[in-house]
């Protein structure tokens, strides 16, 4: 019988990889999650601690999936601290996914926003010319650079890292790199996931040039199924209408890049 995606399935963490001092990837076996599309997410229950929305990470082993988490608040730190052999609950997958275009592609990821980009990379065609821009605060916080290169070994590709403090790769914000690349060459599609200001600037850079662009949004999320309303942005619900929205749509959304909602649902400025 097909699994009801709203029901919680308990899985056991089989492997933990330290990506940086604050970022870990937890690998587990689950056929459904191993096949999710880039941009889709799962609600992940850490028993006794919390439940949080997570992009589903790729795994190179069949039937396995992963989550890559940065410790930040109580919930994400709870997931970060999960050890091999511990159980977590998953439900989903939820949400839509990126429209896969062909040709010259620009993928932009900041922090754990790289997760859906890695998932997208396993779908690119061998004929695609792919540039991946990775944004990080400092050298310590750079991850997935090797993975991106490995996933693209059969493609014409570039993986470029920028750090805010210049301790690795190019110095500055990744959005400056986006602007530089888009002004120098003609891209067929741009995909972005990361902090919202980064996505906002990337969407603006691409959309103003008439380039197809999509962003995978993140919002305060409680239910994941379109009931609680806490993830609304304008009239859209990130869990049901997204997480992926295209630039044409986002350019008309007055909350995107300007406001987010707190746990009580109050709009706050970025």
């Amino acid at each position: 019988m097909q699994r009801n995606h709203n029901h919680t399935t308990i899985v056991t963490v089989e492997k933990v990889i330290d990506e940086t001092p604050t970022v870990r990837t937890l690998i587990f076996s689950d056929e459904v999650m191993s096949n999710v599309l880039p941009g889709q997410f799962a609600m992940v229950w850490i028993p006794g601690i919390n439940e949080l929305p997570m992009s589903v990470m790729i795994s190179n082993e069949s039937g396995k999936a992963a989550f890559t988490v940065r410790k930040h608040g109580a919930a994400s730190t709870g997931l970060f601290n999960v050890q091999v052999g511990q159980q977590i609950g998953i439900r989903g997958p939820y949400g839509n996914s990126f429209d896969l275009k062909e040709g010259k592609l620009l993928l932009v990821g900041g922090g754990t926003g790289l997760v859906p980009m890695m998932r997208l990379l396993i779908h690119v065609k061998p004929t695609d010319d792919v540039t991946v821009l990775i944004g990080a605060k400092s050298k310590d916080e750079v991850f997935f650079e090797d993975l991106a290169n490995r996933l693209l070994e059969n493609n014409v590709h570039k993986v470029i890292v920028s750090t805010d403090d210049g301790s690795y790769g190019e110095k500055g914000f990744v959005t400056d790199l986006v602007e530089k690349h888009l002004s120098q060459a003609k891209y067929d599609a741009v995909y972005v996931c990361g902090p919202e200001i980064m996505m906002y600037k990337t969407v603006q850079s691409a959309h103003s040039r008439g380039i197809f662009v999509q962003a995978s949004l993140e919002r305060m999320m409680k239910c994941g199924v379109g009931i609680c309303g806490s993830c609304c942005i304008g009239e859209d619900l990130v869990c049901k209408d997204g997480t992926v929205f295209d630039g044409e749509h986002l350019s008309k959304n007055k909350e995107f890049g300007n406001f987010h909602r707190n746990k009580a649902g109050i709009l706050e400025n970025y």
């Binding site: 308990i10 609600m43 919930a75 409680k222 379109g226 609680c228 309303g229």
Partner: protein, 303 residues
């Protein structure tokens, strides 16, 4: 005569009888507009409190095998003042403001915040089953219900609805008290106190342990309550609880409801559910030769 969906719930007149229930999707005016365009006759806001509430940590929702949801979102809301500012520009959408509080003054103070807003009605949440000192704990205290309803009725000319549920005091007595105190209509019922335990990890799933069961499992219970209220009292009723199809809606009309609310069905069928139910109701009315919703209300009590 071509049927139409117009309905009256006492002094409240709506162009369509299917509303969004409180607690669902209710924190953004943009979303209210979208729901109204999608066929909702009115939207009921999340229950607002005097101060903003963050609600409970996740997990706040659980999908029950066999159907239905258990939620303990914890009445998270931006507070009456912030919310009133957000809906002030609204001209088009019939908004029913749901309020939750512990004492009559809470309700009185919140209503003052909405003086500049177009409010179709207030719905007093006397039945949330999972937050202490409000909701059911208020609804279970007849003296408090009396004081709150009297105070609210003296504070506003806007129609006031009481939302009742299954607590320790029989809901029919709560309805009676609310009617004696001047309430304009009743919404029945709220979610039913429930829980879920994971057998692998051997823990309650919801962070609050207990939550409110909604969706198809509670529909027969809600329907029974609407039938009982309409049999005992002459008061306009809004049916709520597990409605997900047009047949469900018709059942509630036949039991005595003049309008209905839904929430969980959105989690199953998304926003299209409003249009689907409206269309189904109209087709049923054509088939049975009814011109207005009122023609159906309470018909099941005849037999």
């Amino acid at each position: 005569m071509e049927p139409n969906l117009v309905t009256s719930i006492g002094p409240i007149r709506l162009d369509r009888p299917v509303m969004l229930a409180s607690g669902i999707l209710g924190i953004s005016l943009d979303v209210f507009n979208r729901l109204y365009r999608s066929g909702a006759g009115a939207v009921v806001t999340k229950s607002l409190s005097t101060e903003p509430w963050e609600g409970y940590p996740n997990p706040t929702i659980f999908s029950v095998k066999g159907g239905g949801w258990i939620n303990a979102v914890g009445l998270s809301n931006p507070g009456a003042e912030n919310f009133a500012k957000m809906i002030e520009p609204n001209k088009d959408v019939p908004i029913i403001v749901s309020l939750v509080g512990s004492i009559p003054e809470d309700f009185e103070n919140m209503i003052k915040q909405f003086e500049k807003c177009k409010v179709t009605a207030y719905e007093l949440n006397l039945s949330c089953p999972h937050v202490a000192k409000v909701g059911l704990e208020v609804g279970d205290d007849p003296e408090l219900v009396k004081k709150i309803v009297t105070t609210v009725k003296n504070s506003t000319n806007v129609p006031v609805i009481a939302k009742v549920g299954l607590g320790t005091t029989h809901y029919l007595n709560t309805v009676g008290t609310a009617i004696e105190s001047g309430i304009d209509a009743i919404t029945a019922i709220n979610t039913v106190r429930a829980m879920a335990i994971d057998v692998e990890t051997q823990r309650p799933i919801l962070s609050n342990k207990f939550g409110g069961l909604s969706g198809t499992p509670i529909k027969p219970i809600a329907l029974r309550c609407v039938y009982e209220i309409s049999s005992k009292y002459d008061i306009p009723i809004i049916g709520c609880g597990g409605i997900s199809t047009w047949e469900d809606a018709i059942e509630f009309f036949l039991a005595g409801a003049s309008a209905i609310q839904l929430g969980s069905a959105i989690g199953d069928n998304w926003i299209d559910v409003f249009d689907e139910i409206n269309t189904g109701i109209l087709q049923y009315m054509k088939k049975k030769n009814y011109s207005k919703i009122e023609d159906m209300v309470g018909l099941a009590k005849k037999s």
